[in-house]
Amino acid sequence: MSDRLQKLLGPSGPEVSCETCFAELDRYVELEVADPAKAEQAVPGMRAHLEGCPACGEEHDTLLELVKTDRA
């Protein structure tokens, strides 16, 4: 139930748009690989958007995984 409510209500704080998310995604992912806290500082509202938008969230997860695989 909590999961369904979460999907209905979304993130409570400010979040970026899908457009901004795509524009910043590569920078955010590289910062995340180095230091996740710095990533959120650099792009405020990105984490909230990735939790609220399933499509952007999925694409972020794939890019993060791919970059990590490349660097392994």
Binding site: D26, E51, A55, V67, T69
Partner: protein, 234 residues
């Protein structure tokens, strides 16, 4: 790369500002080499475009393989076809947007996201091909968790009843359709956007506004604290 894609790629002009190699002080040597080759002429550019196609195919395959595990009906040849089509579409986007690359990540990371986006959108559309999209308000239900103790279940039922009232009363018909489809029926936002003749960015804005109204409705009815208990405040 198919001959058709190669022809399309040849037709994508290098943006004028990019041709002058806009100063990008943050560029690492590998990214600078990619940009220089893609903005050059003749054989050097053709060779770079081939490598870019391979890079985008790798990103598209990575996405397709991750998602295809959840799509058992996808056959092997469909998987390859989606990856190929995605790489071909992505290469056109990358070449057209070269000037947007700010050098704030590696060039390869920047390019990957185009391949992943194309593959992800194609996979979602394939999964919903021929399926009716449940967007009508009457097609949703909210049931309390059955494993809860009776008093907790009663409290959750009260919250859900107010959520239902909020969806019915506080939202516009368009906001209701989008929220019900995406948040309750798990319709991918870009599939819904395609059916409604909209785009992901615009529909997410609608979803965001609907969620804000729903939160405000619950707060007006004294249920803001209850959301924390149910995990709806992150």
């Amino acid at each position: 790369m198919t001959p058709q894609v190669a022809a399309t790629v040849r037709a994508v002009a290098v943006p004028a500002r990019a041709r002058k190699t806009t100063a990008k002080p943050l560029l690492d040597p590998e990214s600078r080499a990619w940009l220089r080759a893609l903005q050059s002429d003749g054989g050097e550019r053709e060779e770079a475009v081939e490598r870019l196609h391979e890079l985008l195919l790798k990103a598209a395959r990575f996405e397709v393989r991750r998602r295809s595990a959840l799509m058992p009906h996808l056959r092997g040849d469909s998987v390859d076809e989606i990856a190929e089509e995605s790489a071909s579409d992505a290469i056109v986007s990358v070449l057209a947007k070269l000037d947007d690359f700010r050098g704030e990540s590696r060039f390869t990371t920047w390019a990957y996201k185009f391949g992943i986006l194309e593959a992800a959108v194609k996979l979602r559309r394939r999964a919903w091909q021929g399926r009716e999209i449940p967007i009508e308000p009457e097609l949703w239900s909210l049931e309390p968790d059955t494993h809860l103790a009776p008093d907790a279940q009663a409290a959750q039922s009260e919250l859900l009843e107010e959520v239902r009232r909020g969806i019915e009363q506080a939202l516009t018909p368009h906001q209701r359709r989008v929220l019900v489809a995406v948040a309750l029926n798990d319709v991918p936002i870009d599939v819904l956007a395609e059916r409604l003749g909209s785009n992901r960015n615009a529909l997410y804005k609608t979803l965001h506004d609907a969620r804000a109204k729903l939160r405000a409705h619950l707060a007006e009815h004294g249920l803001a604290d209850r959301l924390a208990v149910e995990g709806g405040t992150s």
